[in-house]
């Protein structure tokens, strides 16, 4: 990737859950010049911001525990740091777990790029009884340290001031010395590096990386390219191993660990408060081996119940003026081409506002609530047992739950899984999770016409189906899953501002990308109807739609368009059948409604999901996913027809 301009690159890097993205969004949201796309098409968020007349390129990288990447998300951070040498690194640190977080800080300082530490969530640290001395920390690390509380926007101005100042003045950073014997071995390795050796960051860091690397590939390559260097490397590793009685990579990691703890102890006074804080008491309940599962179920159903209770009255309220307008149009425009076009336009715009948004907004908002409070990781812990039964483990739970919002970022988030096997299986299952679009359809059709209990039943069935499919898919993967290692972040009171901001970003991307598709799709259908082209498509699909599934033939065309965007099927359904939302049940039966919903829910989610699967996992898996979804959709809608025919 080439740099598009000469503005300085400022990279945000930190361990997962340190509030890095919140800080990034505060800064990008305040003064954003271009948009940042919520993790759908790009690997990291980019934004240009104007700080006191100076333009900065700010880049948010995925959270990483160390510079020794072990999952694909961490690899993104790693690659970015070395391929596009940043002008400055903002290392976001969770102050409440300072000791552990400093290990990454120490690694970043070893790069000797300019680093500014944003000591985030200091309020949380204070509540835990930690008193951190910023001046002392600054002195020990040799880089500027700024206190921030990203969720309240505190410390952001000071941080940006220091960043600007450091960029102007140039900030020299030098690594911190380790124990003498280890330093001596590193120096020995450093001196052995030939002049033309491909150095990463600096010679010392490169030497450390070589000692730490214990990958067969690297060792073999070095042996082929530079045999004497390989011999020196082996000797250095051997020396470290005999002195410390542990593998070389562990010696290096332990050096950082102990140094980090030492710095932490020197700059922090910990006044141990009461042993059990409110977080721990809540955790005892929500992660309880029995109560935890009851709460999990309650959260799951409460989630959809709240959405439905908010959305359905709102929907009815918004639909009324829309129907009046439609009636008025048909009286004015007759049945000419203008009516079809205007009707399509109205259905697209109105359907987006009245049918989709009432469900979409509460769903995204509640989802960001669950995410921010830290419940997803806890659900992962609780579900691990069951995930093992289907051949995965608890870490896959969080991508699967994110799938209820939108399948696209959910598939991107499978990068947190270390093994490719788990990534493939999880990515094949995600398209079966009803996303916001399909939830809208389920709630707007099943819950609205048949009652909320039917919708709940549908979800139960859906979750069960995902479990069974998981079991079937893992049957074909012989390799074992590596097992669960998942950090459980402390519970946090979510900030309303942050949740609103997340909802706003999602809403904006819906309005920008999905809504135009809804409007355009509806207009095209209007045109098709005028030209009688829709009948042609319906005729081709009639063996499936009419003969097999027993649906009105007119719905064939809506299934085709649903591939662009799932809500389109719902909006077009009304348009194709030529009825208003309230009158739908006059033209189709209960059985047909269920068959239609089953088919729509399990059929290939949408174009963007297939595209992201293709990009993230590969062409073959994307095809496999499409075949699997189509097969399951046909099978279960046929079954639904048989069962509900009564």
């Amino acid at each position: 990737m080439t740099k598009e301009n000469n503005f300085p690159d400022v990279v945000f890097i930190g361990q997962p859950n340190c509030g890095k993205s919140t800080l990034f969004n505060v800064i990008a949201g305040l003064k954003a010049q271009t948009s940042n796309f919520p993790g759908t098409t790009v690997k990291h968020s980019h934004s240009k911001v104007n700080v006191e007349g100076k333009v900065l390129n700010i880049i948010d990288l995925p959270g990483t525990y160390s510079l020794n990447p072990s999952d694909p998300a961490e690899k993104v951070a790693f690659t970015h740091l070395f391929l596009e040498k940043p002008d400055l690194i903002i290392n976001v640190v969770d102050a409440s777990i300072l000791g552990r977080s400093l290990e990454l800080t120490l690694e970043l300082i070893e790069l000797e790029y300019p680093v500014v530490v944003a000591l985030n969530m200091v309020d949380l640290a204070e509540k835990k009884g930690m008193e951190i001395d910023p001046k002392k920390l600054e002195m020990l690390l040799g880089v500027p340290v700024i206190f921030t509380i990203a969720s309240h926007g505190r410390g952001v101005k000071e941080l940006l001031d220091v960043v600007l100042h450091s960029l102007e003045k140039g900030l020299s950073v030098s690594h911190i010395k380790w124990s003498r014997d280890v330093e001596e071995r590193i120096e020995e390795m450093e001196n052995q590096l030939p002049e033309d050796f491909p150095v990463v960051a600096n010679k010392r860091f490169t030497a450390i990386c070589m000692i730490e690397a214990n990958r067969l590939l690297f060792d073999k390559m070095l042996k082929d390219i530079n045999p004497p260097l390989k011999i020196s490397l082996d000797r250095v590793r051997h020396d470290l191993e005999t002195m410390h009685n542990a593998p070389a990579y562990e010696v290096i990691a332990a050096e950082r660990h102990h140094l980090a703890l030492k710095i932490f102890e020197e700059c922090t006074i910990v006044k141990r408060g009461k042993r059990t804080s409110w977080q721990e008491r809540i955790d005892d309940v929500i992660m309880h081996p029995f109560l935890g599962y009851i709460i999990l179920l309650a959260v799951f159903f409460g989630f959809f119940f709240i959405i439905f209770k908010i959305a359905s009255p709102l929907e009815e309220f918004l639909l009324e003026p829309l129907n009046n307008l439609r009636l008025f149009l048909s009286q004015k425009l007759g049945t000419g081409v203008f009516f079809y076009l205007a009707d399509g336009l109205l259905q697209g715009i109105g359907g987006g506002i009245a049918i989709v948004l009432p469900y979409f907004i509460p769903l995204i908002f509640l989802m960001s609530f669950l995410e921010d409070i830290g419940y997803l990781a806890r659900a992962g812990f609780l579900m691990d047992t069951f995930m093992h039964k289907i051949g995965l483990h608890g870490k896959s739970v969080s991508p699967l739950i994110l799938g209820f919002g939108c399948n696209v970022p959910a598939i991107v988030s499978t990068r947190i899984l270390e093994s490719r096997r788990d990534r493939i299986i999880t990515s094949l299952l995600i398209p079966f999770i009803p996303c916001a679009a399909r939830t809208t359809i389920i709630l707007a059709l099943v819950a609205f016409y048949l009652g909320p209990l039917w919708a709940m039943g549908f979800y139960m069935f859906n979750v069960l189906l995902v479990a069974v499919l998981g079991r079937v898919i893992t049957f074909f993967f012989k390799t074992q899953s590596p097992g669960l290692i998942l950090e459980i972040p402390s519970l946090k009171i979510p900030s309303l501002k942050n949740m609103m901001r997340k909802t706003y970003f999602q809403l904006r991307s819906f309005l920008k990308f999905a809504w135009p598709i809804l409007v355009a799709g509806s207009i095209v259908l209007g045109l098709f109807q005028y030209l009688n082209l829709d009948q042609f498509i319906n005729l081709i699909l009639s063996p499936l739609v009419e003969k097999s599934l027993g649906l009105p033939r007119e719905l064939g065309v809506t299934l085709v368009f649903g591939f662009l965007r799932k809500e389109l099927s719902l909006i077009m359904m009304l348009q194709a059948l030529g009825v208003s939302y309230q009158d739908l049940m006059t033209v189709i039966s209960k059985e047909q409604l269920i068959v239609f919903t089953v088919f729509i829910s399990f059929f290939v989610p949408c174009l963007s999901t297939v595209a992201i699967l293709w990009k993230e996992i590969g062409k073959r898996i994307a095809f496999l996913s499409m075949v699997l979804n189509t097969g399951v959709a046909i099978l279960f809608s046929l079954l639904a027809r048989l069962i509900f025919r009564g």
């Binding site: 525990y65 160390s66 020794n68 072990s70 409440s96 777990i97 000791g99 552990r100 290990e103 835990k128 214990n214 542990a246 990579y249 562990e250 990691a253 332990a254 660990h257 703890l261 955790d283 005892d284 992660m287 309880h288 081996p289 029995f290 935890g292 599962y293 990781a377 992962g380 812990f381 609780l382 691990d384 047992t385 093992h388 483990h393 608890g394 270390e418 590596p482 097992g483 669960l484 290692i485 998942l486 950090e487 459980i488 972040p489 402390s490």
Partner: protein, 81 residues
Amino acid sequence: MINLVKAPQNTPLRIVNILGGHGVRRRLFALGFYKDDIIELDSRSILRGPVLVRNLTSDTSVALGRGIAQKIMVEIIDERK
């Protein structure tokens, strides 16, 4: 010396050794789990599920699958010492 799965709950434990392959050990190091760290078993889930471990040295909580927890060897810290 016992493995973590067999250790008693809510009792300070010292990590004596971390067994297992390169990948697993590195991952545990990155999350702040080292030899000599003091940890506590917070809870256990049903049906041979994962365990929840609190690292008192670095003050973090981690859920570990049973297979991985079995690779962490600990000893009970004698508080009288």
